[in-house]
């Protein structure tokens, strides 16, 4: 099922959504007002057909995918810059579905600097493909510090390297020395990485 079908399967009324999607394709500047309104107009509940996504996430991501490419270049950055936390998360979720752009990296780096678990998790999802390796490793380590489940990290095993193993090993050692626990998914990852070497 595609994103539109997954979303509309759970909406009783799609008039606002359909109108908004048509509008942004014709008048891209309207996205400034439609993007923030998506939560109150469509809803905010968790989508049964799309685990981890909410109705407003899906509606906002669809809006971004309907923007003409030239408009994306001018609208995307301010939508993220002036977005509330839910809007910022939707921008992060949309990135892998949009034509690649230099604008992605600074957005992802901003999200990783926040202390909001929803934004950090979204930046480490499929969008993280646009992150340089050093920032990605720091992001994974930050996720462990914040207690985020590592299942939220896209391509974790494919991308994890010896450098990440060293950093993770250091964290585990520090925690053990302090008599503190480490999340099971983090120690499991470390073991997988260490096995690769041996």
């Amino acid at each position: 099922m595609n994103l539109y079908d997954s979303l509309t399967a759970e909406l009783t009324d799609t008039v606002w959504l359909d109108t908004a999607l048509e509008t942004v394709a014709r008048q891209p500047a309207a996205v400034g007002r439609l993007f923030p309104a998506a939560g109150r107009r469509c809803g905010r509940w968790a989508l049964a057909g799309l685990p981890g996504w909410t109705v407003d996430d899906a509606a906002r991501v669809l809006l971004l995918t309907r923007l003409p490419v030239e408009a994306l270049a001018t609208e995307l950055e301010p939508l993220y810059r002036y977005g509330d936390a839910a809007e910022k998360r939707a921008v992060l979720r949309a990135l892998p579905l949009l034509p690649a752009s230099e604008a992605f990296e600074p957005i992802l780096l901003d999200a990783l600097r926040t202390n909001d678990t929803r934004l950090v998790a979204a930046a480490l999802g499929p969008a993280a493909a646009s992150l340089p390796d050093a920032a990605w490793r720091q992001g994974v380590l930050k996720a462990v510090f914040m207690g985020l489940p590592l299942a939220a990290v896209a391509d974790l095993d494919e991308r994890a390297d010896a450098e990440l193993a060293t950093m993770l090993g250091g964290l585990v050692e520090e925690r053990h020395a302090a008599g503190r626990a480490v999340a099971e998914d983090a120690t499991a990852l470390l073991h997988r990485l260490q096995e690769r070497v041996s």
Binding site: G32, R33, G39, G43, R44, W45, V55, Y82, D84, K88
Partner: protein, 283 residues
């Protein structure tokens, strides 16, 4: 006792306060944009502040099960600084956010011509964005400031039922009651208004269109004075239902007019409020 603090500046409060508030029964609050003590000199420091009111603070509140909403505006004190005037240009973006339930705090500080202009412009923004307005009354020359506030509200054409005039006292309450605006009372540890004086005002004026808040900020203030006022009401013979009306249903009704208030999963099954505007999502 379930408490909705309709005016509190959490940016200036610690995480311990959130914890104490949650334990005292505070389950929802509105944080109006205001002055931070240190004057700002550029639009950028306002946008970063607004970002925190729609981003970081709601996240921090949610860690304690508290629903955070805010009001956005250029406050009257800083409206006098030409370097801050450009803030008016960025307000429309923020006034579209889900968590923004009014334009505020607007109104008067020193009653200058600049304040006149910015006050009127922001009442117009409230009408344009279909939002209520949250109006601060000056601490100096309060009675005349309140009269002038009511006159400006009347001229703007906004429905007075969508305006709360805040920081009232025994002297200013009657004229606001007459105007049809909502009446806001900020309960402070010493000066402006105390729980016992608040109870006397409720006995005289009734519970209609009354909002009671702590207005806690970076000054001497106490986020639990809403709870203390509820306790003082009970001690004076008001019922549990009266307290619930003042400390929960009234703010839900006032800010619910924005159609953006989301306290859906905080509502008890037997809650009596019937506006569908507070239910999440939908049309």
């Amino acid at each position: 006792m379930r408490i909705f603090d309709p005016h509190i500046h959490m940016t200036s409060r610690t995480t311990d306060d959130y914890e104490r508030m949650a334990a005292a029964g505070v389950r929802a609050l509105v944080e109006p944009a205001f002055w931070l003590g240190q004057p700002r000199t550029s639009v950028g420091s306002f946008t970063d502040y607004f970002d925190s009111l729609v981003g970081w603070e709601p996240f921090r509140a949610s860690q304690f099960g508290i629903r955070h909403h805010c009001t956005i505006a250029l406050n009257p004190k800083e409206a006098n600084d030409p370097r801050c005037r450009e803030v008016l240009q960025v307000l429309p973006r923020y006034l579209e956010k889900d968590g923004v339930v009014a334009v505020g705090e607007i109104g008067y500080d020193s009653m200058t011509p600049e304040e006149d202009e910015v006050f009127a412009a922001q009442l117009a923004l409230a009408v344009e964005h279909d939002l209520p307005a949250m109006v601060h009354t000056p601490h100096r020359d309060k009675a005349r400031g309140t009269d002038r506030t009511i006159a400006v509200v009347r001229e703007s054409g906004i429905d007075p039922g969508r305006v709360v005039v805040d920081h009232l006292n025994e002297v200013t309450v009657a004229r606001v009651a007459e105007s049809g605006c909502w009446m806001g009372f900020s309960i402070y540890p010493d000066t402006k208004m105390t729980p016992s004086r608040m109870v006397a005002i409720l006995q005289e004026h009734g519970l209609d269109r009354v909002l009671v808040n702590s207005a806690a900020d970076w000054g001497r203030s106490d986020p639990l004075l809403t709870l203390r006022t509820g306790e003082a009401m009970l001690a004076a013979g008001f019922t549990d239902d009266d307290v619930d009306r003042v400390l929960w249903r009234n703010p839900v009704e006032f800010y619910g007019q924005s159609k953006r208030l989301d306290v859906s999963d905080l509502l008890d099954v037997d809650a009596t409020f019937e506006g569908n505007s507070i239910l999440r999502g939908g049309s």
